[in-house]
């Protein structure tokens, strides 16, 4: 089962590379929808899946608008971005992390990339947690975000989030260094 999942992840990543190189609109769109729906089925929560995708979707929408303003024509760039997101997120979900970690020996050359992926995975969770805290604090302090001081408070909130994440990253790195792992 785990081997099948791993093969599926590798196939997904290869398919993503081929899709990006080929750039076929229909292929990209179909892949984006399929990957998105597959993740929704895995999560069994369509709303959650949409909530997760919303910032990327907004980013892509802004990209389309900027591209149109700049060139008066559209490319597949935004769609490619969304396909990358959908397939990478699905791959991360499918990846058998525990088995992968246990099957790679610390002496093997694969260990460093696996460890790097785990660090990224772990730090994304920390970033998510810190963002949630910051946004909750911001919402409580600024009930009307578009009134006076709302935007300024958001800027400072993001600034504090950035500083806290840097601090957490520094501590995380220090802890791993002392355990002899980060070298």
């Amino acid at each position: 089962m785990n081997a099948a999942r791993f093969i599926l992840v590798v196939a997904l990543v290869c398919a993503l590379i081929l899709l990006l190189v080929d750039g076929n609109f229909v292929g990209l769109a179909a892949s984006a929808v399929t990957a998105f729906l597959a993740r929704a089925l895995l999560l069994r929560d369509f709303r959650k899946c949409i909530r997760h995708a919303l910032p990327v979707f907004l980013f892509c929408a802004i990209l389309v608008v900027l591209e149109f303003i700049a060139h008066r024509s559209l490319s597949n760039l935004a769609l490619k971005t969304f396909v990358c997101y959908a397939i990478v997120v699905l791959s991360v979900h499918l990846m058998p992390w525990t088995v992968m970690v246990r099957s790679v020996s610390p002496r093997s050359c694969l260990f460093a990339p696996v460890l790097f992926l785990l660090f990224v995975h772990h730090f994304t969770a920390i970033l998510q947690e810190e963002t949630r805290r910051s946004l909750t604090a911001y919402r409580m302090a600024v009930p009307h975000p578009f009134r006076r001081g709302g935007v300024r408070a958001l800027a400072f909130s993001l600034d504090s989030l950035f500083c806290r994440c840097l601090l957490r990253a520094e501590r995380f790195y220090a802890a791993q260094t002392l355990r002899g792992i980060a070298e």
Binding site: S105, P106, A174, I181
Partner: protein, 230 residues
């Protein structure tokens, strides 16, 4: 008694202007359980980071009688304020075995050591779970287990009781009492320290306020007020 940690004339500044630590010296001997106390911002954590070489300070740091190096640091373990800084693998068992496997220990003996360390902190049954699924008290104990797994001779703990409830504090205190190794605990939680340490080193705004016998220190309310601890 063998010297375990010697800090001589440690000075450090984050911005190169205002000194965060000024000329601090301290000595720890084998088997001692010492509290490093001071109000918020006194420089407790900074001193630990300087001792470990994570911050570059002026002065001399010696572990086990020799200058700090990779070999001597292997005999030292640290428990950070935030357990997530230490535990990130898919299961506690993986978190504990990783540094051992990384040092070349076989998987079988790494797993035996990991189980022993988890059993010492009372988490043997939770080895298969990831740290994020545990309560904060359990995560703190898991972080201690991850520090103990390498059989260190000196253990640093940075604010071990922050955000812990009363029961978790008591459990942590009784766990630390049972450890047969040299401890340096940076904390301003006097109630917690009272039950563990035999000696206290006090810091006040980055300067050493002296080394005291624990019993005398905790009764000296004038000094405790001066240091901003009560």
């Amino acid at each position: 008694m063998k010297p375990v940690l010697e800090l001589n004339n440690i000075s450090f500044s984050f911005d190169g202007k205002k000194a965060t630590l000024s000329d601090i010296s301290l000595h720890l001997e084998e088997g001692e359980k010492v509290g490093l106390v001071g109000a918020n911002g006194a420089g407790k954590s900074t001193l630990l980071w300087c001792a470990l070489g994570l911050l570059r300070a002026h002065g001399e740091v010696r572990f086990f009688g020799q200058r700090r190096n990779a070999e001597s640091l292997r005999r030292v373990a640290v428990v950070f304020q935030n357990p997530e800084d230490q535990l990130f693998m898919p299961s506690l068992l993986d978190d504990l075995t990783l540094p051992l496997l990384n040092r070349g220990v076989s998987r079988e003996s790494a797993e035996v050591s990991a189980h022993e360390a988890l059993a010492r902190v009372g988490l043997d049954s939770l080895g298969g779970k990831p740290a994020r699924q545990l309560s904060l008290g359990q995560r703190k104990r898991a972080a201690i287990a991850s520090a103990l797994v390498g059989s260190p001779e000196l253990l640093f703990l940075d604010e071990p009781t922050s955000e812990l409830d009363g029961r978790s504090r008591r459990e942590l205190a009784s766990l630390l009492q049972t450890l047969n190794l040299t401890l340096l605990i940076a904390s301003h939680d006097l109630t917690f320290l009272k039950n563990i340490v035999t000696r206290v080193i006090a810091l006040d705004e980055g300067r050493s306020a002296g080394s005291f016998v624990a019993g005398d220190f905790f009764q000296n309310t004038i000094l405790l007020k001066q240091l901003g601890l009560i």
